[in-house]
């Protein structure tokens, strides 16, 4: 029998063994911890104006590691609070879009025939609308938008790609014998979709969702930068960046730190997504199927 190598490890284990995934996970973990715990440890509230005369636009120092902005607010505190907003908005929006897209794709792919054709034409219609322009248009009318509204909009406009993938996978899966077999043994449509189809197509969904988180963080930053996303005094990375750009010539730090945060986060999620694609590859899953003494395939008489 084959040697017991890294084979019997779980997905988390294999992810930790993947070098770039380790880095991405470390960055994301750091961000999450900083976002959750960070603001408690900084000396100031995010909106606190320390001294509008003396502490306006001070460069990074020991006291104010990221410097202060033009309203004399502590930038470190604001970037940490911004991490909360940006991560929460992106995660929740992707959760929403992935759920919507998965449901739509499952139904379309499994129903097949005319239902599938109709649902796919509707989807083609949605896909033909540029997402950023649509969002700007809606957000211009709905201004200022509450964070929940922003999440809703980002989620509701982000599911098209996922549903395409899920539908294609469902089409390929529904004719497999174990799906037919489940039908032949009396399982209903809901059970077949949730138990037999979904678990077997979840890999590309996870990968897509991970990549989408990075994407939405960048998108949200862009929208906030354009002045239609999160607004003052809510400190999302995009809005901090937006505030800083006006005074960019004299104080680089107001743009630099949120900018680095955005780039690092988006990069981390993209790298993690790619790593997940490697790790969740079913061929790899097969190769690394746990083989322990007494469980290797054998025939019996």
């Amino acid at each position: 029998m084959s040697s017991i190598g890294p084979s019997s490890r779980s997905i988390v284990g294999r992810l930790l063994a993947h070098r770039s995934a380790r880095w991405a996970l470390a960055v994301i973990a750091l961000l999450v911890v900083a976002a959750i715990a960070g603001p408690w440890f900084t000396a100031h509230a995010g909106h606190e104006q320390l001294d509008i005369v003396k502490l306006k636009n001070t460069p990074p120092s020991w006291r104010y590691p990221f410097g202060t902005d033009q309203y004399s607010r502590d930038l470190l505190t604001r970037v940490l609070l911004g991490a909360r907003i940006s991560l929460a908005v992106a995660t929740l929006a992707v959760l929403l879009s992935t759920t919507l897209g998965t449901a739509y794709g499952l139904i379309s792919g499994y129903a097949g025939g005319a239902v599938d054709a109709a649902m796919m034409r509707v989807l083609d219609g949605f896909l033909s609308i540029p997402r950023v322009l649509l969002l700007i248009a809606i957000l211009t009318l709905w201004n200022p938008v509450p964070l929940s509204g922003l999440i809703l909009l980002l989620g509701a406009t982000g599911w098209f790609g996922v549903s395409r993938i899920v539908r294609a996978q469902t089409l390929a899966t529904r004719h497999l014998e174990y799906v037919e077999s489940a039908r032949a043994l009396g399982a209903g449509t809901g059970r077949i979709l949730l138990r037999h189809v979904l678990p077997n197509i979840v890999t590309p969904v996870i990968v897509t969702a991970t990549l989408a988180v990075g994407n939405v963080i960048a998108l949200e930053a862009g929208l906030s930068y354009l002045g239609v996303g999160a607004r003052e005094p809510t400190p999302s990375w995009g809005s901090i960046f937006f505030d800083g750009v006006e005074f960019f010539a004299g104080n680089w730090w107001v743009v630099f730190f949120p900018g680095v945060a955005i780039v690092a986060t988006v990069l981390a999620f993209n790298v993690l997504g790619d790593a997940l694609r490697d790790v969740l590859d079913p061929r790899q899953l097969h190769r690394s199927a746990p083989v322990t003494p007494g469980t290797q395939p054998r025939e019996n008489g």
Binding site: E177, E180, A184, L185, G186, G188, G294
Partner: protein, 344 residues
């Protein structure tokens, strides 16, 4: 005689495709008694698998069971049931064993889980009870250490074991009829024999009727008591198994039997039936086999043969039943090339 368990009358399953109507199953009638094993034989495309799927009403659009069809099972006409009522039959009263043990099991759940699921779908009850039943079932199908095996995933089992699991899933609700679609085709020969033996044994123990679908007459000879031969969406011959092997009547059945390898004729190439099954969108008008048949004469090209009764329980869809003397003047015998490309 008491009503048979299953009585199929004039089953027609048509597929409405862009290239025309494919009459895959075209007026099939047969019966299966309680505890009986019936073999359904034919080559690819003859309609045997669609027949099986029709019985369970698993045919998907554009396929449709025509409204004249009757599937009387246990006193109910399945062709008339709603999808919801049909779900209660599937797996509980009538179950199916699929061909590919590699793909017939869901790769992400343990085998115990999958057997227990069938119990829970039909029975409700607690997870624990269903699990206990699953383990018991694994033992019934001859899997050693069933408690442990139940917690394993399909990829951890060999092909033969998986097929045992698939059989366990089909039998766990103790159905009256099991449809087995090529249950041994994907297996090694030695494992095939084991699985057939298992099915025979379980059938005797549980009194289940079996409809065994196969292209392998050898499998039928070992398991079935009666054989139905299908060609071109129709039944062309039906007979008790011994009678069929001794006195095959239909030229197609004859061809199938000639195409079987036999001990003692190792040097010969196997006989083949020339040509292939015509497409179901364009069955020949008269006898569907006439353009491949070595005996065919003008009548075969003009008149569709009925099922002639030619003996007790033996019927054949061939005009030879009325003109047996024609069997002598065979134009082109089935191609048998004796030792043409001799192996050493």
């Amino acid at each position: 005689m008491a009503d048979p368990l299953l009585r199929v009358r004039d089953l027609r399953t048509y597929f409405y495709t862009e290239n025309g109507v494919a009459r895959s199953v075209d007026g099939v009638s047969f019966e299966i008694g309680a505890g009986e094993t019936v073999g359904l034989v034919g080559e690819s495309g003859c309609g045997k698998s669609v027949t099986a799927l029709s019985l369970l009403r698993l045919v998907r659009p554009p396929g449709r069971i025509e409204s004249t069809s009757e599937i009387l099972f246990d006193g109910q006409d399945l062709a008339k049931l709603s999808e919801k009522e049909m779900r209660k039959i599937r797996g509980a009263r009538m179950a199916m064993v699929f061909q590919e043990p590699m793909t017939a099991l869901n790769p992400v759940f343990t085998v115990g889980d999958q057997i227990a699921e069938v119990v829970r779908v039909h029975h409700g009850g607690s997870k624990k009870e269903a699990w206990a039943r699953a383990v018991q079932m694994l033992e019934t199908v001859g899997i050693p250490a069933p408690e442990q095996r139940a917690t394993e995933y399909p990829h951890q089992l060999s092909g033969g074991m998986r097929q045992r699991v698939v059989i366990a899933m089909a039998l766990v609700m103790n159905p009256a009829l099991v449809i087995a679609d090529e249950p041994t085709t994907a297996l090694d020969v030695t494992i095939q024999a084991q699985i057939l033996e298992l099915m025979r044994e379980l059938q005797q123990r549980l009194g289940t009727s079996i409809l065994l679908i196969t292209h392998d007459l050898g499998v039928v000879a070992e398991t079935a008591s009666r054989v139905i031969v299908m060609y071109g969406g129709e039944i062309v011959e039906e007979a008790p198994v011994d009678e069929l092997f001794k006195n095959a009547h239909h030229p197609y059945t004859e061809g199938l039997l000639n195409a079987m390898p036999q001990v003692g004729h190792e040097r010969e190439r196997l006989a083949t039936i020339p040509g292939s099954v015509p497409p179901p969108t364009a069955w020949p008008k008269a006898c569907r086999f006439h353009d491949r048949c070595p005996y065919a004469w003008d009548r075969c090209a003009t008149e569709h043969p009925p099922l002639y009764q030619i003996g007790p329980g033996h019927s054949s869809r061939c005009h030879l039943a009325e003109e047996p003397e024609r069997r002598a003047d065979k134009h082109e015998p089935f191609v048998v090339m004796a030792g043409a490309e001799g192996r050493p």
